[in-house]
Subunit: 351 residues, 2 copies
């Protein structure tokens, strides 16, 4: 199935900073142990139940059920990089499966930490829409499957941190000005204080390749789904405003330095014959910021969002048919970036 | 007078390494103290004598006599950067003057260290031709002016290091592979051993911006002009061969690394909004080498030779009409480089 990954598209008005919005709902079957405790037979039973629902007319039209252990390692890693499954799910053991649409917007992980995880990821700031779509899938499935539910606690989950709504709402944000100005650690502290988590999307820990971060709710028990989404959206709006202010400020105070950095980043990306994921991420980040500040001529930021994925290991390996060494990966990565950025201005010329 | 600087042109077959060939003949008037000992009246007398010769029909046609103290600082520094006068001469004191043609090939400094210094600078490896042209000027002037000459020592000069032939023969060479491979210090030692000097063209000491070096004779007394020229040409030919071998070797052994370096250099030069003379020189050096190795598409190396001058301080100031700060110089320099390198591939596109 060819997935378009529509969540990479540019979705105004917040797209200069906010890449995408994701809602994930965790649900479990009654009377079947959670996946980490389930027997192989139980796990297969869960997948079969889901497969039965899928086959029913009119529900989950156009979605495909894929068994993780029938996919090769590269296919699974591609889905992780596409943000459609979790890294844990990609391990492929324990009767795992995933349902995917052909637009790269929704996925249902089966036998991840929970029996079912309904996910919807949309471009820009559209958490409420993402919640609607995820909730619709959850309701449709719920017509055929009884979810584990407690009248006090709400939906039961494998980890207590998900109990209640079973919901995780998150936005992916691009924060080059927060990082360049050194204010990212302050932001992390502030966001934590209001009960949200913020962490790097690419790479480990607080150091995020390409200045991409994910902001999500920590609390799942107590407030309603709508209240949680509303809270994350408000904070995302605040982060958008602050990031834009910091960009403008930085550009005003250090116009030349910013212009020079941004143009050099583009020049290197358009010409390098070998580039690491770290350098490519950081230069792409500068170019993305440069486009939003109108320093650079128009470049589709959706294409830049796509490039952030295209430079990841599994995407670099696409079409190779074999493993590549680190040096070969760097060469291939450079050529992928060059093609995208030079192809884009075909017929045009550098200023 | 608009000087074309023909010595910057590409002159095969050695032009990948050898930029230009220069011969300079030092002569002094009899019975007049050397410039550093001359009275103001003596110095003016020397200039006037030269001016008289210039006015005579048929001699030094199309050359212009310029009084250094009537030129502004920028004009004088431009002539230094164009290699038409020495930095000392540009100080403009002591009745200094210079005669220049309109092709940027010959110059006669009056009241530099010696009363007269006839210089010819030609593109590529053409020392014998440069000697012929300089010697013709020297003979023409000698029909009207008696030179200080000793039957034992030959031509007398202000510094004993120039006595005899009064000749300095030099070639400007581009040695990126010697520098990158770390073999430049060995070369300097070897060249010194055979009685020649080698030093950086731009910047002080053995560190040369842009990997540009000048190889010249040390001995002026003993061998004939032709023998000296022959010796410098032979060594220049040897340096050419070695540099080309080192470039090929480096490219063969580290193909990817060299390609990446060269393309990045071009990308930065085509996009930077601010660039120091040091960085610009080093990147231009890589690009020049990349063109000769056919890593980059065709770029006129004569244009690159011109850029090495165009990034020098006085050239950067051209057309500004005022002094610029270091930051302003770096901006202007970047725009000069960008215009030259992007103009060149107008209508084309990056690969």
């Amino acid at each position: 199935m060819d997935r378009k990954l529509e969540w990479l598209r540019v979705q105004p008005p917040y797209s200069d900073v906010i890449i995408s919005s994701r809602v994930r709902l965790a649900r479990n079957f009654v009377k079947i142990p959670f996946p980490h405790k389930a027997s192989p037979e139980d796990a297969v039973g869960v997948v079969n139940s889901v497969a039965d629902v899928v086959k029913k007319e009119g529900i989950f039209n156009g979605m495909e059920l894929l068994y993780m252990d029938r996919m090769d390692d590269l296919q699974r890693r591609l889905l992780v990089e596409d943000h459609l499954i979790s890294p844990e799910h990609a391990m492929g053991d324990g009767g795992r499966a995933v349902m995917l649409d052909d637009r790269g917007i929704v996925s249902i992980m089966v036998n991840e930490e929970d029996h079912l995880r309904f996910q919807c990821i949309l471009p820009g700031l559209q958490l409420m829409d993402a919640l609607d779509i995820a909730a619709k899938m959850e309701r449709d499935m719920g017509k055929h499957i009884e979810y584990a539910f407690d009248s006090q606690l709400g939906f039961l989950t494998a980890w207590p941190t998900n109990v209640g709504t079973g919901m995780r709402a998150s936005v992916m944000v691009h924060l080059p000005a927060f990082v360049l100005s050194g204010r990212i650690s302050n932001l992390i502290t502030s966001v934590n204080k209001v009960g949200l988590a913020i962490r790097g999307v690419y790479g480990e820990g607080s150091a995020s390749l390409g200045d991409m971060f994910q902001v999500s709710n920590q609390i799942t028990l107590g407030p309603s789904e709508e209240e949680i989404v509303d809270n994350v959206e408000k904070i995302a709006g605040f982060i958008f405003d602050e990031e834009m202010k910091l960009r403008e400020e930085m550009y005003k105070n250090e116009r030349l330095k910013v212009e020079d950095k941004v143009w050099r980043a583009l020049g290197i990306l358009q010409n390098a014959r070998s580039i690491s994921i770290k350098e490519a991420s950081n230069l792409l980040s500068l170019v993305r910021m440069g486009v939003t500040l109108e320093i650079l001529p128009y470049i589709d930021t959706g294409m830049l969002n796509m490039l952030f994925l295209a430079i990841q290991p599994a995407h670099v390996l696409l079409g190779e048919g074999k493993m590549l060494s680190k040096a070969e990966m760097d060469i291939k990565r450079a050529s992928v970036v060059r093609e995208a950025l030079n192809g884009m201005r075909e017929g045009g010329k550098n200023v």
